[in-house]
Amino acid sequence: MRVGYYPGCSLTGTSREFDESVRSVARALEIDLAEVPEWNCCGSSPAHMIDTTMSIALPANVLLKAKRAGLAEVLTPCAACYSRLLMGKHEIETKPATRAQVERVLGCPPGSLDELPKVLNVIEFLAQIPETIAAKVTSKFEHTVACYYGCLLVRPPKVTRFDRTEDPVEMDKLVALVGGKTIDWSFKTECCGASFSISRTSVVGRLSSKIMQDATRRHAEAIVVSCPMCHSNLDLRRREINRRMEKPTLIPVLFITQVIGLALGLSEKRLGLKRHFVPVKLPAKTLPAQVVS
């Protein structure tokens, strides 16, 4: 099974562990990840905040490269890239004026932006192959976790068309598939502060602490995410969060691919578990005894 792969800038930098875990899980599931050749940045929030034209042109260029590389589907683990690629594609398909403008900026002939490849986030992609995952589980991930989806995966529903907007369940299903238990909590899609991590850290502190507060009250042993921005806000900014919490907490923040990797028996090193700021220590059920490379 071959699928296009667009890691995005975060996965080559601050969230390298997300990229490592996606690649090792894919290898374990015999999925060939064909990286989009010479991919450029999707522009993330700053582009659409202050330069709408580029915020459509940059993702369009990525999809154009994927199309020219013959990739029908592009797996995009990072929720921000997923949202920008989808939004770019949607704007091009629905607004002729935008399409013409983007064709001029990319310098590509008209019509080359037709039938751009399909964009998949990592949950959507893994949800397509439950049997293959279940078959390869060697040590069940027996922990109670809080699945945190963030806002860009499920919003705006008219564009993303993924899962239930206000109470998504697909990640919960994946965790259950590999033996885990998930709590029913109210902050699955509340925003974590996203791109304010550097320029307005207090906002991130306020929002992320609310999320952490609800998760800890319901005794979650870890938070599972599928977005590098959410991960860095909940992990890197833990000091900011703990300052606003009733009781500081050190529960780790894992990527969904890391959870599945553990269930497939992959090693800590391959999943980049060592790269987190909040050390990954899980109670009772320690890590699997034998380490399979």
Partner: protein, 245 residues
């Protein structure tokens, strides 16, 4: 809703209802702004001022922000009936000086005084872009798209709220890094941000472990087709100059 009752052509709203175009006093999706109606009505010479109450001194409506929003972003501020649901759900509303629904209200009057307050507000910069408001808006008003356009208009007119300098600096540093290396070179981007804002010592504590954990590298890793991306930025800037009157 202080809008004077006027007779204008618009479309019925319900998606599957028969498309009834009627000259009736009724709200609709792409209702033409009032100014444009007056200036086109045949025969009678009606000046907009004569009919607008002084509370909303209206410029000629052609280049009001509301008109631009409708044309460029297909966002019709007239759709909003001020129910406050966007403000209620907005994660950043607490810290905003002008609530999201109030921003739309300021645009609805199409008067320069109110538009100025919107462009100079801190709210447009505190908007995180989490799309919660458009997801739940009963009138499906695309507020995030409106915020994008307001931010860019605010920068174009150089009236951005000074308290938002850090945020503006971050966005500019981010884009600058993309323009130069095709991808975001985090170390370079943060350096650029610090120079622009003067917060030289922010997050210094975290720097060492970032390098140790391999999350940060001193050199940009290539492959971002940076020449091509550079040309894209240049063409975009050129196109923008052409379209600006």
């Amino acid at each position: 809703m202080g809008q004077p009752d006027t007779v204008t052509q618009m479309h019925d709203t319900a998606p599957d209802a028969p498309r009834v175009r009627c000259f009736a006093v009724k709200k609709g999706t792409n209702r033409r702004p009032i100014g444009a109606y007056f200036s086109q009505s045949e025969g009678r010479t009606l000046t907009p001022e004569k009919y607008m109450s002084c509370h909303h001194e209206s410029p000629s409506a052609r280049h009001s922000l509301a008109a631009r929003l409708k044309e460029v972003g297909e966002v019709d501020v007239a759709d909003c009936y001020q129910c406050g649901k966007c403000t209620a759900g907005c994660p950043a509303a607490e810290e905003m000086d002008v609530a999201p629904s109030q921003i739309l209200r300021l645009l609805q009057t199409e008067s320069p005084k109110h538009e100025k307050r919107a462009l100079e507000s801190m709210s447009i910069w505190l908007c995180i872009g989490c799309e919660t408001c458009v997801t739940r808006c009963p009138q499906e008003v695309d507020l995030p798209r409106a915020m994008d356009i307001l931010r860019q208009e605010s920068l174009a007119r150089n009236v951005a709220n000074r308290a938002a300098d850090d945020i503006v600096a971050f966005h500019k540093a981010f884009l600058h890094s993309i323009e130069r290396s095709g991808r975001v070179f985090e170390f370079g981007m943060i350096g650029d941000y610090k120079l622009r804002t003067g917060h030289l010592f922010q997050d210094l504590g975290a720097a060492p472990s970032m390098f140790l954990k391999g999350k940060m590298s001193l050199l940009p890793h290539g492959g971002g087709s940076k020449r091509e991306v550079g040309r894209m930025f240049a063409r975009a800037r050129a196109a923008k100059k052409e379209s600006q009157p």
